[in-house]
Symmetry: C2
Subunit: 356 residues, 2 copies
């Protein structure tokens, strides 16, 4: 077993936590007997932009397409490069051009993480958010009429295709089917958004007929966010459009205490293009450069990547090591009310991993 | 002082809680010396639809326009009438046709309500969500291409006008300006929704310049929902588009324990048309007809309506009576882990109101 991995740390704390993710990857390769060829890239960062005037080199597709996966940190440094340039010029471009139409994010309450919800214990919250990642509300189709005047009108189109909706639903139903609870929740807003959302509902029903074993329900996005807070134990697999999935996959991790430790996968399930793995958190300019960022999100991301590559045992061992490390208050960073540095927190996971 | 009020109970628990709201209104009128002319209407309900084939009579505008306010319950009975007919045929039509472009919803942690967030006390959470209520993501503009085929494409447009955006922002800034904290948070998603949302940001900045005393910040909607859970004490006035405001005004009340008690106002600030007052909760078919619905949402709604009409003392007295009643476990309905019936819970508020 031999994998070619592109490593793109990006900006801010991305540059601090990616090396910790790489260390666990290298340790896992040794321990579980596979080989990793890591190709480190400085592009996809605002530093790169400052030097070259673009976020990516012209040949980025040639460089990345042959890899098995992309291990990504975080991108964005708004003080020097506006978000729409840094994000649309890197991360969002990867998602589109590599047709990573699945954004998969686990929501799991981990030991040692102070949960903002009263009375919830690890085990109570354990589900996945499956987000459509290429179309929907993020289409950049639209424009402005009468710009700069009192009569100004700005229009942006939400675009859903049968192709795009069905493939994300299929992924979500497959995932639900593979889990013990076999339960799928669809995020909708068909009572208010009267064209695209009823269409979404209709495709969910059509797809559901192909999965008779999967129990399904749907909630409008407004009340669904309420249930994330009031009844997070109700969920197993939650599927939503690009925007709804985006919201739910920040809200979910927040309900489990922090978005600082949550991982995410941008997947091209057919494997025609490499999939991209990144923590849910961003580049966090406010704490960058201080060595205090929580490395757990990036390390958990490494586990998600290995699972995707088929190294399931290694992946599970990493998640178990994270759980062990988090149980010890001394290994927690300050976002978890601890005092550990990025290095110390990562070291604790590595130790638990080595000991297992 | 003399007010003409249209009373529309609608469906489900609307029919059970509106009478309780009316009783507090009548008691308040007597106690505070103003007069109410209540005009009761059966339209705007699915029962009415069953009989007449429409949600509203042809002359609904003539009937309602001369009133000072509309006291609304809840609409919807999906088992017999699809949501898009019942909602777009009544509530959403009122909002549009009466140009109720402000949807105002208080988020306040009340005594006696079990808070799902660990360690939060009454006083910690107390803010307003101001939602744009007429345009944005709820435009019904769009359509389908290649319907029913593999190539199907469905498009819906988000439409923002300078007129529509500026007037809701002005309302929100005015509200922030009037409050001690003078703090306004804008909900955006300009890093992903690349046309309408940057426009929203730009109008927030432009409007902000007219309010130098108001401190303002903005969050993308994904992380904003996370902060509602993690840092609800951070907010004072939160303003959002139709969809974002919708989400935040369910999530906010959920973070304070229940959407069963939250009120809301659909306001036409210029007073050209009547404003409409309704609880945030819906018609709740699952518990309708059992006499167990929580009447507090409708009673708090009565207070919001009186405040809007200028009866500020009466409004404050009602809210105080709600707080007194909720402190007693015996006056809480089962959604608040109590055993009181709708009647008993309302009676407790009335008693506290009379005693004050
Ligand atoms: C019922 C529905 C159409 C409505 C909305 O989305 O506006 C409701 O959720 C609300 O918040 O008043
Ligand atoms: C940075 C932003 C454009 C991005 C998104 O909305 O997709 C992020 O929030 C995410 O969830 O990956």
């Amino acid at each position: 077993r031999h994998y070619r991995i592109a490593v793109i740390p990006g900006d801010g704390i991305g540059k601090e936590v990616v090396p910790e993710g790489v260390r666990i990857l290298e340790t896992a390769a040794e321990k579980f007997g596979f080989r990793l060829d890591l190709e480190h890239h400085a592009f996809g960062s605002c530093d790169y932009y400052a030097e070259h005037g673009t976020m990516l080199p012209a040949n980025w597709k040639e460089l990345l397409t042959p890899t098995d996966a992309i291990f990504f940190g975080a991108v964005g440094w708004p003080a020097t490069v506006p978000d729409h340039i840094s994000l649309w010029g890197s991360l969002l471009q990867f998602r589109r051009e590599f047709d990573q139409y699945v954004n998969l994010r686990p929501v799991r309450l981990m030991p040692g993480v102070p949960c903002p919800l009263a009375g919830r214990e690890p085990g109570d919250i354990d589900f996945y958010v499956v987000r459509e990642n290429t179309e929907g509300e993020y289409s950049s189709v639209g424009g402005t009429m009468y710009p700069g005047t009192e009569r100004e009108i700005v229009i942006q189109e939400t675009v859903m295709s049968r192709h795009g909706v069905d493939r994300i639903l299929k992924f979500a139903f497959d995932l639900a089917q593979s889990r013990p609870k076999k339960h799928l929740t669809s995020a909708t807003k068909s009572n208010g958004i009267a064209i695209t959302m009823p269409y979404w509902d209709q495709r969910v029903e059509a797809m559901g007929e192909r999965y008779p074993e999967v129990r399904r329900d749907k909630y409008h996005i407004d009340i669904l966010t309420a249930h994330f807070v009031l009844n997070p134990d109700r969920f197993d697999v939650v599927v939503g459009s690009n925007l709804f999935g985006d919201i739910l996959s920040d809200l979910g991790p927040a309900c489990t205490g922090t978005i600082g430790i949550a991982p995410s996968a941008n997947i091209n399930p057919e494997g025609r293009f490499p999939s991209l793995f990144e923590p849910v958190h961003g580049s966090a300019p406010d704490i960058a450069g201080q060595g205090i960022a929580n490395p757990v999100g990036q390390i958990w991301t490494a586990a998600m990547m290995l699972e995707h590559l088929g190294e399931v045992d290694a992946a599970h061992a990493i998640v178990a090591a994270i759980e062990t490390a988090l149980r010890d208050p001394a290994s927690r960073t300050r976002d978890l009310k601890g005092t550990a540095s990025t290095r110390e927190a990562a070291e604790a996971v590595l130790r638990a991993f080595a000991a297992a």
